[in-house]
Structure formats: structure tokens, C-alpha cells
Amino acid sequence: MLKLEKRPQPSRVFAYLTPVLAVIATMFAGGLLFAALGKNPVEAIRTIFWDPLFGDFAAYYRPQLLVKGGPLILIAIGLSLGFRAGIWNIGAEGQYIVGALCGAAVALAFYPLEAWYIFPLMVLAGALGGLVWGMIPALLKVKFGTNEILVSLMLVYVAENLLAAMALGRMKNPEGRGFPGSRNLKEYPSAFNDEVFVGTGMHWGVLTAFLAVIFAYVLLSRHMLGFSIRLSGEAPRAARFSGVNPARIVLFCLGISGLMAGLAGMFEVSGPSGQISIDFNVGYGFTAIIVAFLGRLHPVGILLAGLLMALTYIGGEIAQGNLGLPSAAIQLFQGMLLFFLLAVDMLTNYRISLVKREAT
């Protein structure tokens, strides 16, 4: 019979191998799913993972990889810090919305003035908005011991309603002929989050995401605060004895993840999306949770995982157009990935051994 044996040390080999195994397993299970939907599984998998990079229209799709990957990486980096410390911010979607609302509010307040300082102010506002929204569960947790998982998630629904209220009310485009949604920031040069290098898809948000990866890497491997974060997650009691202040860790982790999600939202509304509308948020805040785990909560891993997840978004859209694959199938596909990841992750911490059952 099979028996699980706890490894004295987590396996390094499997730490690198499990995400790859999970992706392969998901491709197989996804293939079965697509076959069940009456599509050719090989063609569907090729459309999702190959065509965006090397297909006929790859030149158009490749920049999209950065456009979609940027916010995912930025949000996931913030979340991973908390996840490492055992602090579960799952309300990134809400912080993303509030960041976008604050950023757009600054832009709309200055409209139609053209000035160099508008965009930096928007960045500041977006970061602050996300920070404040992330600090609500943090402060409640520190002050009253309230569960941050539930509070941060409830705030997503509050933020979504706030978004709808703004898109239909205060931020509605006065020249929009009554349609919901704000002015389009793409037509407002001072507020437009343009590409840094033309044709690459690399806007300021993507650049920020890359900076966040470096920041997180240095923080976790070189800085005392990063060490405290890791210690609080892996050995909370040891952390307490060594003088780590748990409240400080909670405030920092939820604050920084809120800030990064807010930035992601602000860069999205001023760039690829362009306007505040009711359906502005597309679930990046939730997908980023998958990205964080797929990247094994490691900054470099998250960078790769974010790009891979962006690929499934783009490939999913192509498959929707070419093969008639429903958009929900891609959502399911991403959910499956997290499942397989958690299942094979066991191999990192445990070893499976065959033992003969003793006669009793």
C-alpha cells in the first residue's frame, strides 16, 4: 500500500518540477474537457499555447502578452508577500477597482488641462486608493482580530457597487450621449498610459510590474523585513520569540498588496481599458491568486507564471474566435491549473513510499 512520509526538508527538485507537472496535467485534463465540448483537443491546446507566440498573427498577439501579464504579475507579487506570511488578501480585485477609480478621478478632475504632472499624480492616487482599501482589512485584523479573508472579499463587492455607482453617476461622460462609462482617457494625452517602447505592449504598468519583481526579490532575500515575513509564515511561534511584531507584518503585507493592486488598476484604466465602465474589472485580482501559487510565491516564478497565465487569456480569446470555445472554458481551465498545482505540491513536502502491510 502507498504511504505518505514527511520529508525532513522540502525537496528542491520538486519545488521546481511541480509547476511544470501541474501545467502538463492541466493540458491533459483541459484536452479532455475540450474534447467533451466537441472540439479537437490537440488543436485547442495548440491554439491556446502555441498560436499566440508562433502562429500566423503572433506579431499582433505578442505585445498582448505584456499587456495582460503586467497587471497579473504586479498584483500577484503583492499577494505573494502576504501569502508567504500566512496573511490571505483575496480582495485584490476590490483594491484594483478602487485604485482605478482614484486614478481616473484625478484625471477627470484635471480634464481638459494638459500638464506633465497629471499622470504622476494619477499614479500616486491609484497607489493610495489601493493602499487604503487594503488597509481596511489590515487595521480590522490588527485592532479586532477580524478575519482578513472575509473582510477583504466583502470589500470586493463593495468596490464593484462603487464602480457601478461611479460609472453611472459622478464619473459618467457628460458628452457620452447618456451611455454609462467615463470619458476615454486614451483621448486625453496627459492622462494616457502610453507604451514606453512603441509596439511592444510595454506600458508604464508593465514596467512597474518588472520593478515590483526586483523589489520583492531583494526584499525577500536580502532584507530583514522579508526575512520576518518568511519567518512568520513558516514558524509563527519562532517569529514571535525572535521579536517579530505580527501587527507590523499584517499592516505591511496587506498594505503593499493593496498598493500594488491599486497601481495595476490605475495603469489599466489609463491604458488598455481607457475608461471607467461597469464591467471594467475582468477578474485579474482573482486570477493573480493562481499566478502567485503557480509561481510558488517566488518573484521570478511569478514573473513566468504571469506570462503563462496571460498566454492562456490570449490563447483563450483566439480559441473563442477560431474554434468557438466558450470563454468560460478558459476560466475553468485556469481553475484546474490551481487544483493540479495544489495536488502535486504534496510531492515537495512528502515522499510516497510503498510499504507492505504487516500481518496483524
Partner: protein
């Protein structure tokens, strides 16, 4: 604004209906958590139950079959969670989130052909004589069967946990899984059963939304009810009776804000729609002062070698 359109009897009656989905999901999650497992996938199991129940009701024309399918669907999804957390020893928080993301994807995939259809309504089950009592009859005794089922389930869980041997074992597993293991109880098996029960209850709660409360299918229609059910368990300090109280409170808030929307209060609809979530946060803050009642092994991974 027209306050006369809000009549107390109707308001309280619809409160009972609004409370039923979170009551069902909440009492299921309570059993799971008393066994020491934190399943954050309630939202995913509810929405899966919602579409399973809806699809089967449309295809078969029988709401009862629909509810059975919903329970099976919720339990099926819960089985995945059980396999991940009890056999593969995965992190429960992450697995629960995975379950929710997976359930949302699965339900919108299954539900694409069912948008805009109307399911057969189960008949209201008026309890004879009792339903004729003015006011009280309208509020308590003129509902569909699921409302009574939910109330019965709360009573049954309360009795089971408090007075039966099975309940005692379940609580032992949740309070200290190593001690329970040493006494010879099958910790993993008991937890898997509890997780399946929780999944079935969440499935029923979801189907109640899609079949009776709304009744139609839209993507993501549970809109956080599963998360409110999780908050409900904290609110209830892991006690079945208080789950009922909490469900009525949340149901009351929901109904009241819907009625205020309909009555045309001068506040934009979106701000009223926020209120159930804000109240949930408020209640969580008030209740989380008392941490002592949570099952001691809640959320911990059990591995027999220790």
C-alpha cells in the same frame, strides 16, 4: 418615497426566503468547521449547486430532482476539496479558493444554454390550519418545502452535535485531531464525510437561489452568498442556533435594502446593494472579539505520523 408599499407580514415572509440559501450553506459549513476543516469553497459549491439544480429542473420538470442534483453537484465539488486537503494534504485556504474559482468557471460553462429560461416552481406548501393564523401564518407557515427543510436541518445538526455520540466524535476530531486519532477514530474519514455534507448543503443553498429566490440562471448569480455563509459561521460562534439567528439578520438586511430600492429611496441603488456586505464586515468586527469558540484544530493539516 412610498413607505406604505412595505408591509410587515410580507417583509418578514420574504426575509425567511432570503435567509434560506445562506442558512443551508452556513449550517453545512458549520459542520465542516466543527470537524476542524476550513472550506473556503462555499461560493464555488453554491454556484455549482445553483446550475446543477437549475439544469436538472429544466430538463426533468421536477424541482425535487433538481434539488437532489444540486446536492450531488455540491458534494461532488466538495469531494475534490476533500481529496486535495485530506489525501494530498494541501493548504486548506488555497484549496478552498481553487474550489471557488473552479466552481465559477464550471457553472458558467454549464449554464450558457440555460440563460433566460424559467424553471418550474415548486408549489408553496401551506401548513394547514397554522397558515390561517393571521400574520404569523403568512410569515412562518406559507412557504415552499425547502424553507422548512432548512429549519429542520438546523435543529437536526444542533441535536446531532449536542446529544449524539456521532456529534461528540465529530467535535473531538475538530478540537484535537491527534487525540481523536489516538483514541482510534478515523480522522480523515470523518472529515471527508463532513466535507461532503457541507458541499451538499451549499449545493442546496445555491439551487434555492436559482430555482426559487430569483428564479432564473445568470452567471455568478450567488454574488457572494457563499462568503456571507462563511461569515455567518463566525458570527454564530460555531453554534447551530445562532446560525439561524444570523441568517435571519442577513436575510432581513437584504430584504430591507431591496424594498427600499423598490420604494424609490433617494439613495442610488448601488449604495443600497453594498449594505449586506458592509453589515457583514461590521458583524465580523463585533463578533471576532471572542476567539475562544473556534474549533482548536480548525484549518490544521492532519498527518498521522505527526
Amino acid at each position: 418615497m412610498d413607505m406604505d408599499s412595505i408591509t410587515p407580514a410580507l417583509l418578514l415572509a420574504s426575509l425567511m426566503v432570503a435567509a434560506t440559501p445562506i442558512l443551508l450553506a452556513g449550517i453545512g459549513e458549520l459542520v465542516v468547521e466543527r470537524a476542524g476543516v476550513l472550506n473556503l469553497g462555499v461560493e464555488g459549491m453554491m454556484i455549482t449547486g445553483a446550475i446543477f439544480g437549475f439544469a436538472v429542473t429544466i430538463e426533468s420538470g421536477s424541482p425535487m430532482l433538481g434539488f437532489a442534483a444540486a446536492a450531488a453537484g455540491g458534494a461532488g465539488l466538495a469531494l475534490l476539496f476533500a481529496a486535495l486537503t485530506q489525501l494530498a494534504l494541501a493548504n486548506q485556504v488555497a484549496s478552498g479558493l481553487a474550489l471557488t474559482l473552479f466552481g465559477l468557471g464550471l457553472s458558467s460553462l454549464l449554464g450558457q444554454d440555460y440563460v433566460g429560461l424559467k424553471p418550474v416552481q415548486p408549489p408553496a406548501f401551506k401548513i394547514p390550519l397554522l397558515s390561517d393564523i393571521p400574520f404569523i401564518g403568512r410569515v412562518f407557515f406559507s412557504h415552499d418545502l425547502m424553507v422548512y427543510f432548512g429549519l429542520g436541518l438546523v435543529a437536526a445538526v444542533w441535536f446531532m452535535l449536542k446529544y449524539t455520540r456521532a456529534g461528540l466524535i465529530l467535535r473531538a476530531v475538530g478540537e484535537n485531531h491527534h487525540a481523536a486519532h489516538a483514541l482510534g477514530y478515523k480522522v480523515v474519514r470523518i472529515r471527508i464525510l463532513a466535507i461532503l455534507f457541507g458541499g451538499a448543503c451549499a449545493g442546496l443553498g445555491g439551487a434555492y437561489i436559482s430555482l426559487i429566490r430569483v428564479p432564473q440562471w445568470t452567471e455568478g448569480m450567488t454574488s457572494g452568498a457563499g462568503w456571507i455563509a462563511l461569515a455567518l459561521v463566525v458570527f454564530a460562534s460555531w453554534k447551530p442556533g445562532r446560525v439561524l439567528l444570523g441568517a435571519w439578520l442577513f436575510g432581513g438586511v437584504t430584504v430591507l435594502q431591496l424594498n427600499l430600492q423598490a420604494a424609490g429611496l433617494a439613495i442610488p441603488v448601488e449604495y443600497l446593494s453594498m449594505s449586506p456586505y458592509l453589515i457583514t464586515i461590521l458583524v465580523l468586527v463585533i463578533m471576532s472579539a471572542d476567539k475562544s469558540r473556534a474549533p482548536a484544530s480548525l484549518g490544521r493539516i492532519f498527518h498521522a505520523s505527526g
